[in-house]
Amino acid sequence: MTIELENKIKKMATNMRKNILDMSLEAGAQSSHFGGGLSIVDITATLYGAIMKYDPKNPGWEDRDRFILSKGHGVLGYYTALSEIGLISKKELLTFEKSKSFLLGHPVMNLKKGIEFTNGSLGMGLSVGVGIAIAAKKKSKNHKIFILIGDGECNEGSIWEAAMSAPHFNLDNIVAILDKNNFQQTGSNIEILDTASLSKKWLSFGWEVIEVDGHNILELIKALSTKNPKNKPKIIIANTIKGKGFSFAENSNEWHHKILTKSQYDKAIEELHSNK
């Protein structure tokens, strides 16, 4: 069962990476947030493939698990996951960042397509998640709230306002995932603003902290499906690689936001096939 599930997620992630290449190539000069989209692919594939409750036929189902992409620039890893579950077609994916497309460079709320919230300005999603989690408690609902944040995003003070409030309100229905790819827009975390010891920071704020390899599907499944301790929000610090999957982009911050050329695309497709 576990092996089957793992293989299913891996297949999803491979499809998603292929779609990301197609979208980035198609977006052309519009460019795309390539690196930070790729670092979250295995996380979103696991969430949508194995963890979250939802009904693709009824995206507004009241008891669905909620997902917030607080690091809104990670859309490539989000739209492609929604495509895997049938809410966004391949044809629609290829309209990414084109005029009149609903698939912008940051998510814009569109529930029938599975996009729950508008994001893009960093540091806001966790607070919204806290509000939804309080609402779920008040309504005695069992659904969970998954919020994906970035390590660069942890520069924002508002993240820590929300971080302080979730344990205060005993929100054991919150699962945050921190995409720790060690880079942000113009350099490494260490160069720009050192976010060292993030685990300790979250622990000291009263969260249950689990550290995993963010590209290891089994570790992700285990961490995401473990029950929160009573009254405690949980955060999974996912150690990831920015640009994961393609050698020229991995840990290379020039791929934060960049145009993908046809020759790079061809090379990437080759790598994708050889890694299968």
Partner: protein, 323 residues
């Protein structure tokens, strides 16, 4: 909610902030969908009784206004009737971008209440006075902006906000023992200005505490032979442009009076409306200058800024000589 003479006297005595708290308490008795969120300002917002009697309908996020708006948006997205309250500068500016994205862009229906706006907290300095909120809030798409003239109107605005479909900012001005503009119940409709007093020579459009000052000023003007129409512009957005158009051709001078910066508030709304009207009367904008001035007790502060009734009347008389 019962609106009788006794209640109106109580409202006026306790001021707009405590009136807001009282109204929320009354509304919550029947509507358990209400959640009022404070940022460590429950006493200032008159919410202590709600907190005690209906703890499930009250939430405190502490001194964290960015989180306040995010949490409010999350609750609103799940269908709750959400109110947020803190002092006006923190309610509007500390979390401005959260308001823009969560309420403006995503249209999550939250009613924000800015406490003690204007100059009432004068002696605390300009960190606590708020002279820019109307301007900032009205520039954000999808946000309705209300500026009640007295405590009864604060109650009416709070009640109306529940049925209103857009996110709202309600700006509360004035202190305790607030003068009554309304002495009995009346029809309050968001987006519709109210002519309080008829007059033929000039029209004074006022908002917030300046409605009462303007009525007083018009009484002074009456003794000098000037007949002034008084209009209560309790809604800053959507602005009642039609009313401005209707009135602006019938008088020889238009005056706006507000306890707010002359940039971006009521004066700007009227000027924008007038810019589309041919042959409109000239317009004098009375409000606060572009400065963080001296800090004084409220009444002295109003006087220093020429916002008391006799000063408003005198300014109008001076301007009339130039028309």
């Amino acid at each position: 909610m019962k609106i009788d003479e006794k209640n109106l006297v109580t409202y006026s005595r306790i001021g707009s902030r405590a009136t807001f708290g009282l109204v929320i308490l009354e509304l919550t008795k029947k509507n358990k969908n209400i959640i009022a969120i404070s940022a460590d300002t429950s006493t200032s917002a008159g919410l202590d009784r709600l907190k005690k009697q209906f703890p499930n309908n009250f939430l405190d996020v502490g001194i964290s206004e960015q989180n306040l708006i995010g949490v409010a948006a999350g609750l609103a997205s799940e269908g709750f009737d959400v109110f947020t309250t803190t002092f006006a500068p923190f309610q509007t500016m500390r979390c401005c971008e959260q308001i823009r994205v969560n309420l403006g862009y995503m249209k999550h229906k939250v009613c924000m209440v800015g406490l003690a706006s204007g100059l009432v907290l004068g002696t605390l300095g300009f960190t606590h006075c708020c002279i820019e909120d109307l301007s900032i809030m009205r520039s954000i798409p999808n946000i309705t902006v209300l500026s009640p003239a007295d405590c009864l109107e604060t109650a009416k605005a709070t009640i109306a906000s529940i049925e209103h479909k857009n996110p709202i900012y309600i700006r509360l001005t004035g202190g305790s023992n607030q003068p009554m503009v309304y002495k009995k119940d009346y029809n309050f409709e968001i987006g519709k200005g109210i002519v309080l007093k008829d007059g033929d020579d000039i029209a004074i459009f006022a908002t917030g505490t300046m409605v009462h000052e303007s009525i007083e000023a018009s009484n002074i003007l009456q003794t000098k032979g000037v007949s002034a129409k008084i209009i209560n512009m309790h809604t800053i957005k959507p602005f009642d442009n039609e009313l401005v158009e209707k009135i602006s051709k019938k008088v020889k001078l238009i005056i706006t009076v507000e306890e707010h910066s002359i940039i971006g508030g009521l004066g700007s709304c009227v000027a924008e409306a007038k810019s589309k009207i041919k042959n409109s009367a000239p317009h004098i904008a009375i409000g606060l200058p572009q400065q963080f001035g001296k800090s004084e007790i409220y009444r002295d502060m109003l006087k220093s800024h020429n916002l008391t009734a006799p000063q408003i009347a005198q300014r109008i008389l001076d301007e009339l000589n130039n028309v």
